[in-house]
């Protein structure tokens, strides 16, 4: 049901299987960051790989919301799925965590 919501928003996906495409993961993650920043009235720094998450303008509640929404949208929960999950420090690492999880779930 939650993945239908993603399609309804015009960010078509074919579900978790098709999500191994890394550009698509990056764009879903980026859109989730932007939407959460807007919802929580926070000024988001431009999203670049080297952007430190704690300096991005988002707080820990924002990241918690992003992780919950990404689990619904992508069907991925890398923090509990991955054997060697790490806590990301930069935006690039955050995206990479989901890309790794997507490769794991596709394979």
């Amino acid at each position: 049901m939650e993945r239908e919501f993603v399609r309804a928003q015009g960010h078509a996906t074919g579900g978790a299987g098709a999500m191994s495409d890394s550009d698509e993961i990056r764009s879903v993650v980026a859109r989730c960051f932007e939407a959460t920043a807007a919802d929580q009235h926070r000024a988001l720094q431009p999203l670049a790989d080297r952007l430190a998450l704690l300096g991005s303008g988002l707080d820990s509640l924002c990241f918690a919301i992003i992780v919950a929404q990404l689990e619904d949208e992508l069907g991925l929960d890398p923090f509990s799925e991955l054997e060697d999950a790490f806590f990301p420090v930069t935006f690039g690492e955050f995206v990479q965590l989901y890309e790794t999880a997507a490769r794991g779930s596709a394979g």
Partner: protein, 460 residues
């Protein structure tokens, strides 16, 4: 048993050992030998004293000065609203207030207020101070009228190992505030061990706090899993090199335990279970969440049992009771405290699954599901809703809502659903603080109701 000042003196703190916040500091040796309340000592002896301080150092000083001197100590948490003070004074029979900063709500009360000065006068041998002081703490997460529980210093320090001598002495750091149970445990560890302690303040950013911990050479650092997740997501995590990490106050999940052991490979990582009512119950050090099956039913000072899914504890470290008019009984007929923490046994391990009353802990902030449901249910398109905790690797949990619509067919339209989701969330964000608004909403055809007509919170 010795009083707190005697325990501190017996620990023989090193000359440089001190309590430190970003703004203030206090030498443990001064604290052990000197006083800042001077002539008020005799006046306060035997009284019920409420301690309400602007800073944590003031509270620490007051506890050392007053334990063994007064009949009762009431420790006000930093966020206790002034509107509750008259109730607290009546319920705890307070007849004096000690503070580091007398302000309007205190001077307006009908009890004498005494102000702490830095401890610079050598403690007189005045023979004052043989009382067995009762410590009154506020339970965490209560809304409305505050709830007070009574402890003794012996119970509060019951889980603390005897102090070690130099050079193995710990240097403590904590993200907690010592004016609540979790932080008080760390303060008592520092005092009883004669160890320095670095305290944080909300105004101090994480990078500055970590830098200060590093400067002080913190070896033992304590906080909630949410505090630690913040450290793990900070580029400054490597600033500190503690030998011992302690997690408590929330459920420690596998992700945070693994993250910490990867970031601090040489540290002992311990998660502890404690509550203001039940005291410190146990510590776990095997890197796994939850606790081993054998802990329940094993003999020892701390006894545990599980009844109807909730963890019950009987121990000499638990509170002796609630205090105040109409105070409920703290323990059952056999003397066990019902923690309200629900546990499940799986593969030889007890796991925490949430609170019985459904209270959700979002990064240390409590959320009552009924409050959120009340807001959602005001939406004209909503028939009913159920709000629950959803496990989250960043804040431990977030709020999630299931919503049954008045017109179930509306859920067939993706566009309508998306618009409804946005409008329900907008309503929640307007009416509630950010942590109470649902992170996710799911539309469901129906929501189960128990035979008694209540929302079924457990059978999901």
């Amino acid at each position: 048993m010795a009083n707190l000042r005697e325990l501190l003196a017996e620990a023989r703190p090193a000359p440089g050992a001190r309590l430190e916040t970003p703004e203030a500091g206090l030498s443990l040796r001064d604290l052990a030998t000197s006083t800042g309340i001077g002539p008020a000592r005799a006046e306060l002896a035997g009284r019920c004293v409420m301690v309400r301080t602007a800073g944590q150092i003031g509270m620490a000083q007051a506890l050392v000065e007053l334990d063994g001197l007064v009949r009762r100590l009431v420790l006000c948490p930093p966020d206790l609203g002034a509107e509750h003070l008259p109730y607290v004074i009546a319920a705890a029979e307070v007849d004096a207030v000690v503070t580091d900063a007398p302000d309007e709500p205190l001077t307006g009360l009908c009890v004498p207020v005494r102000t702490l000065q830095p401890p610079t006068t050598i403690l007189p041998a005045d023979g004052v101070g043989e009382a067995r002081t009762e410590w009154l703490l506020f339970t965490s997460g209560t809304t409305g009228v505050p709830k007070l529980v009574a402890h003794s210093l012996a119970g509060l320090t019951g889980a603390i190992q005897p102090p070690r001598q130099d050079p193995d002495r710990a240097v403590w750091g904590t993200f907690y505030d010592i004016r609540r149970y979790g932080g008080l445990q760390i303060l008592l560890r520092a005092l009883v061990g004669g160890c320095s302690l670095a305290l944080s303040e909300p105004t101090e950013g994480l990078p500055d706090h970590l830098a200060r911990l590093a400067r002080l050479g913190a070896t033992h650092v304590s906080g909630t899993p949410s505090h630690w997740r913040g450290v793990l997501m900070s580029p400054h995590a490597a600033t500190i090199t503690p030998a011992y990490l302690r997690l408590s106050g929330e459920i420690a999940d596998q992700a945070v335990l693994d993250g910490l052991s990867a970031a601090f490979p040489h540290a002992r990582i311990v998660h502890a279970y404690a509550s203001t009512e039940a005291g410190v119950a146990f510590e776990v050090e095997d890197g796994l969440p939850g606790f081993p099956e054998r802990f329940v039913g094993r003999p020892g000072p701390v006894e545990m049992k599980v009844v109807d899914g909730s963890l019950r504890i009987r121990s000499p470290r638990m509170a002796s009771g609630y205090v105040g008019p109409d105070a409920p009984s703290l323990a059952d007929a056999e003397g066990f405290v019902d923690t309200g923490d629900m546990v499940e046994l799986k593969d030889g391990r007890w796991r925490f699954v949430g609170r019985r009353n459904g209270v959700i802990n979002v990064g240390g902030l409590k959320v009552h599901p009924e409050e959120v449901e009340g807001v959602i249910n005001r939406h004209p398109a909503v028939r009913m809703s159920r709000v629950r905790a959803r496990a989250n690797p960043i804040t431990g949990a977030v709020v999630t809502a299931e919503v049954a619509l008045a017109d179930p067919q509306a859920a067939d339209s993706l566009e309508l659903k998306s618009a409804l989701r946005a409008s329900i969330l907008a309503m929640c964000r307007t009416a509630l603080p950010a942590h109470k608004a649902p992170a996710t909403i799911r539309f469901v055809p129906d929501i189960a109701v128990t035979a008694g007509g209540k929302l079924d919170r457990y059978n999901v």
